[in-house]
């Protein structure tokens, strides 16, 4: 690894923006629990395991005492052993075989886990009692699994529309002796998806009670800020949370690299992409047999990087592979096997490999661009250094505002707490979708355990009024003859795939929204390093035909979006600002594609995309700033209003997640036009539910808009940055599409001060003309001496404390 560090430090000397080391940590071990079965001891000894980590032993005790247990898994902390060991141990000791349900968030993950678990089971000579039950399970196999499996691996989708609706017939036996429900990666279940899954668990617990079982939940989560609260909301139970890690960890080196500036043919300066770092680094590492993983942001980016790395070094093709969603299951399995067995030295991937799957020992991790959240950053960085050797993590920044901020502020990554996972189990819209499912499973009572009483009885009376349920004896039975679970789409709008075929062979798959932007007619689709030309995309038939081609360019779609409030429900005039709530039509469409030459990244042509727009209706609001404020801004600088709109756009979207207990991807915002008077169009901020039909997020924000805006201002006021950062309003908020505004924002603190000015107008009717300071050298090296950072932080804290005191004084008098 020393040679790789030397290579990084010498090759990227100019571009290096930060280097820090996370210190090595010794592990702390305890003996096997006395109750551990002899056979298992033997198996573990055979694998060289003679002791458990302290946290594993605690999990063993907690699970062994049949307490709901949540294990927060850190890198290489032995998660599998933490929760399977006590369960298998109890299973082997039990007189009557009990059953265990294991839920993984995706099909792919569940297949992998079956393998891991299968070997452990085989080792204790009781195999054949485990099966994976998901959409891919063949029919005859299903019956065998239902009949004879004690351990079933499945996913929430299957539980929702396969197992629960049939609990009374095929699953009665399995459910009646269900002892453990193992749920992996619970942090994935957040936002609207989490609210759905939380209701699915309510249904599961109700059905288990009918069959006389009361299973214990054993869960794992990646590091999140609120693991215990999250599990409680998701499962409606209290949990023992094991959120510490006693496994030994090697020292880790982090390098933050900002690719240099370059001059194009037109003499304009532009920043080189992260590939300028990752390509030479991957080649060097793999040649030195340093096992490397590189994370990219998008699937086709993975393919392009793979081509770029191997095109001039064909000898590397056998030891480096791309891995991403959309590959066929057998291709994925093969790559996973090769990676674990050590046949591959390099893997280029998306966040598909961020979680779950055991990928063996890796030493170098390259993050090509920031993965979007702090949690993901640590998760990806955590994929290396599993077994002792000191790994290196390289973060190569993209030419995007967020990346540019982070690469200049490495301390933001290390100091900012990881994100929370939020969900609202009592979202009325989502609850109302699950109650008919529950009624179909078993008639509903006047009150049901696990539900919020008031909300439940209100929802039940709505269902009664609509005759969805009708009285039957002392209960309410589902009165329709359809299959309600089928109408409840727990993953939003992309629950099916488009198959990509070449000749008569299916070579890959892609979700329908992704398909519009990747495999439109004439698009170049890359698959495991091979290029195909899309001949025809048929979204009705869910098919896309492609043919192999050999060209030196790739294609990139240019999307256009429009948001309209089509039906107004309520208008609220608030300090002269106009806020309107109603039905919103969202229209997104890839309009044309660009052909971009590989390596030089020259734009070599355009073509039209003739797909119908991707259109859906949802609920949303728009906000137009007070006229007085707009005029005042217009007088000073006509860019101020735009800066404020985009700034508020960014911060309100993040703040909204807290109010709605939703995930960032569940709520969208946009600056779009609004017709104030016939023929008069003005900019407005739109905020809408990203889920078709809406799930009440925008509605809630509309009702509490003053609080939301106040909260936004608190975030800005309390932020320590002063000039804007991703925690409040970044200097260049996303979505800005005017060159002039972009240039103005990127070199100033305008976004944050203009946003603050708008918030003052909205909250207090105060017109404050923003004081903009221009920072002319944002691209220079900014290695501030450490004492300055300390001082800045201290000043920030003092300012905040002073403000709190002032506020308190004002309240008192």
């Amino acid at each position: 690894m020393k040679s790789i560090k030397r290579f990084i430090e010498s090759s990227f000397h100019e571009e290096l923006r930060g280097h820090f080391t996370v210190q090595k940590r010794e592990g702390s071990f305890v003996d096997f629990p006395v109750t551990l079965n002899q056979d298992i001891r033997g198996v573990l000894n055979g694998q060289g395991i003679t002791k458990l980590y302290e946290h594993q032993a605690e999990a063993f005790t907690s699970i062994g005492n049949n307490r709901n247990t949540l294990v927060v898994s850190h890198t290489a902390s032995g998660k599998t052993l933490s929760f399977f060991l006590p369960i298998i141990n109890e299973y082997l000791l039990a007189n009557q075989p009990f059953s265990v349900m294991m839920l993984y968030p995706t099909k792919a993950l569940s297949r992998d886990q079956e393998n891991t678990f299968g070997t452990l089971m085989q080792a204790v000579k009781k195999s054949g009692k485990i099966g994976t039950f998901d959409g891919d399970t063949p029919r005859d196999e299903r019956e065998r699994i239902q009949r004879s499996s004690d351990f079933i691996v499945t996913n929430p989708d299957m539980l929702h529309n396969g197992i629960l609706p049939n609990h009374n017939r095929k699953w009665r036996e399995f459910l009646s002796r269900l002892r453990y429900i193992v749920v992996d990666e619970v942090h994935i279940y957040r936002g609207a998806f989490g609210s759905h899954v939380s209701n699915i668990f309510r249904r599961l617990q109700r059905v288990c009670e009918i069959h006389g079982s009361s299973p214990v939940f054993v869960c794992s989560s990646a590091t999140i800020r609120n693991p215990g609260d999250h599990a409680r909301l998701l499962f409606h139970r209290e949990f023992d949370v094991i959120d510490y890690d006693t496994s030994p960890q090697p020292a880790k080196d982090f390098y933050f690299i900002n690719p240099g500036l370059s001059e194009s043919h037109g003499h304009a300066l532009y920043r080189k992409g992260p590939a300028s770092v990752s390509i030479p680094l991957i080649r060097e590492a793999v040649r030195k047999k340093v096992r490397t993983i590189c994370f990219c942001r998008a699937r086709q980016e993975v393919e392009r990087l793979y081509r770029a790395v191997t095109d001039e070094s064909p000898e590397l093709r056998s030891v480096i592979k791309p891995y991403r969603g959309g590959l066929l299951p057998n291709e994925r399995r093969q790559i996973e096997r090769d990676l674990v067995s050590g046949k591959l030295y390099g893997i280029i991937t998306t966040n598909a490999l961020e979680l779950g799957i055991d990928i063996g020992d890796l030493d170098l991790c390259i993050l090509s661009g920031h993965p979007g959240t702090i949690a993901s950053f640590w998760q990806q960085a955590g994929r290396v250094g599993r077994r002792g050797a000191s790994p290196v993590i390289v973060y190569a920044a993209k030419d995007r505002p967020i990346d540019q901020y982070l690469v200049h502020h490495p301390d933001f990554i290390t100091n900012t707490p990881v994100e929370q996972a939020l969900l609202n189990p009592d979202n009325p819209y989502i609850l109302l979708q699950h109650l008919p499912c529950a009624a179909q499973e078993h008639p509903l009572r006047e009150s049901e355990k696990g539900f919020d009483n008031e909300l439940y009885s209100e929802a039940l009376s709505i269902l009664k009024r609509e005759k969805t349920v009708v009285p039957y004896h002392d209960t309410y039975r589902y009165a329709l003859t359809d299959y309600p679970a089928r109408g409840v789409n727990i993953r939003g709008m992309t629950d099916y795939n488009v198959e990509i075929y070449c000749g008569s062979e299916v070579i890959g798959e892609i979700d329908p929204i992704g398909a519009r932007g990747t495999v439109y007619k004439d698009a170049i689709y890359q698959h495991l390093g091979q290029k195909f030309l899309s001949m025809d995309l048929d979204l009705e038939k869910k098919l896309c035909g492609v043919e192999p081609v050999d060209v030196d360019y790739y294609t990139e779609a240019v999307w256009e979006g429009r948001v309209d409030l089509v039906e107004s429900e309520e208008v609220h005039i608030f300090n002269e600002a106009r806020i309107e709530f109603g039905a919103v039509r969202v229209n997104r469409q890839p309009k044309l594609y660009k052909k971009i030459r590989e390596r030089t990244l020259e734009n070599i042509g355009y073509g039209p995309i003739t797909l119908a727009a991707f259109e859906y209706e949802t609920t949303g609001l728009n906000l137009v700033a007070p006229q007085m404020w707009l005029s005042a801004m217009e007088e000073s600088n006509r860019l101020y209003a735009g800066a404020a709109y985009f700034g508020l756009n960014y911060i309100i979207r993040h703040a909204a997640t807290i109010f709605c207990m939703s995930d960032i991807k569940d709520i969208n915002t946009d600056i779009s036009l609004y017709e104030s008077e016939p023929g008069q169009w003005r900019s407005a901020l739109y905020l809408y539910d990203a889920i078709e039909g809406g799930v009440g997020y925008a509605e809630k924000l509309f009702e509490r808009i003053e609080e939301v805006l106040r909260f936004c201002r608190e975030i800005i006021d309390n932020c320590e940055c002063g000039t804007g950062c991703p925690s409040c309003v970044p200097p260049l908020p996303p979505g800005v599409d005017s060159r002039e505004l972009e240039d103005f924002l990127v070199e100033s603190n305008a976004a944050v001060v203009c946003t603050r000015s708008l918030l003052s107008a909205l909250l207090e009717k105060r017109i404050v003309v923003p004081e903009i300071s221009i920072n002319r050298t944002p691209l220079a090296r900014s290695d501030a001496p450490p004492e300055d950072i300390e001082k800045k932080r201290m000043t920030g804290k003092l300012n905040r404390a002073a403000r709190i005191l002032r506020d308190k004084r004002e309240r008192l008098h």
Binding site: Q440, P443, Y472, A479
Partner: protein, 279 residues
């Protein structure tokens, strides 16, 4: 008839039953009165008498549900014979065979000389009221077809009434096969209008009706009613062969009993009332 059954008692197989009959035990009362002569001793005898006494209590308490649950299928004809006039025969047609996507289209119930029909989209739900009042349900092949479909259609965990499946009663009496083939053996003839229609055609009729053919609806309802009456006729004949005292109705019963659900509510209410008084 009911109290000629011994096979529902634990430990009584064909051997013991034969021994009992040889010794002249033909009813439960015999066993209790002549307990000392029973072909068994000690604890076994005590438990046998206790079980017989319990069976007698169930019969006296009119607990049909417990008796149905207690009797092996091969002996259920005895219960059928005892409660024939109190039983409600039911049959349903469906929109297909899939338990996921199909549901019941028509239900016909025959009770005490009357047929009531329940039609999807019209009065199907009223069936549940009738079911709640039924003392004993009799179907042909209901355990694997009609009842699961009814439970699925109404989304209830169970119909919750005592049930005898005539198919298996007939099977033990040597009549194996579907309803239509047994009918032929007994020379039961359905009315000309519905003769030759089978379950598959009934599915087709449903879709033709949904497509707007009012005749198809009428035919489907008549077919379903014919099915249920035929089930009743088969039951009568099987009981007669088993030696029960039953007057077998003739084929004219088909014409005499059909009642359409599309009558003015006053009349329907009156019928309901009639059924209740008769029960």
């Amino acid at each position: 008839m009911i109290d000629g059954c011994f096979r529902h008692i634990r430990g009584v197989g064909p051997g013991t039953e034969e021994a009992l009959r040889e010794k002249g035990f033909s009813t439960w009362d015999d066993c209790i009165l002549r307990g000392d002569d029973l072909p068994m001793r000690g604890e076994r005898r005590r438990r046998f008498i206790e079980a017989i006494a319990k069976s007698r209590d169930l019969r006296d308490a009119d607990d049909i549900g417990s008796l149905v649950a207690l009797f092996p299928v091969s002996e259920q004809w005895r219960l059928l014979s005892a409660y024939l006039q109190r039983a409600t025969f039911i049959d349903c047609e469906t929109t297909g065979l899939s338990r996921h996507s199909s549901h019941v289209s028509v239900i016909a119930a025959y009770h005490a000389g009357m047929v009531r029909t329940f039609v999807y989209g019209e009065n199907l739900d009223e069936f549940l009221e009738l079911a709640d009042e039924a003392e004993l349900l009799v179907t042909f092949n209901g355990s694997s077809f009609d009842l699961p479909f009814l439970e699925k259609t109404f989304n209830i965990p169970t119909i919750g009434r005592p049930h005898i499946d005539l198919r298996w009663v007939a099977w033990h009496a040597g009549y194996r096969g579907g309803l239509k083939s047994i009918e032929r053996q007994f020379r039961i003839r359905r009315p000309a209008g519905v003769e030759g229609i089978d379950g598959f055609e009934a599915v087709d009729l449903f879709y033709r009706w949904q497509g707007g053919e009012e005749n198809a609806r009428q035919l489907l309802v008549e077919y379903c009613a014919a099915d249920v009456i035929s089930t009743y006729l088969v039951a009568e004949r099987i009981l007669q062969i088993a030696g029960c005292d039953v007057d077998c109705s003739d084929n004219s019963i088909f014409e005499k009993t059909i009642i359409s659900p599309k009558q003015d509510t006053g009349q329907v209410q009156q019928e309901k009332q009639d059924i209740r008084t008769r029960i």
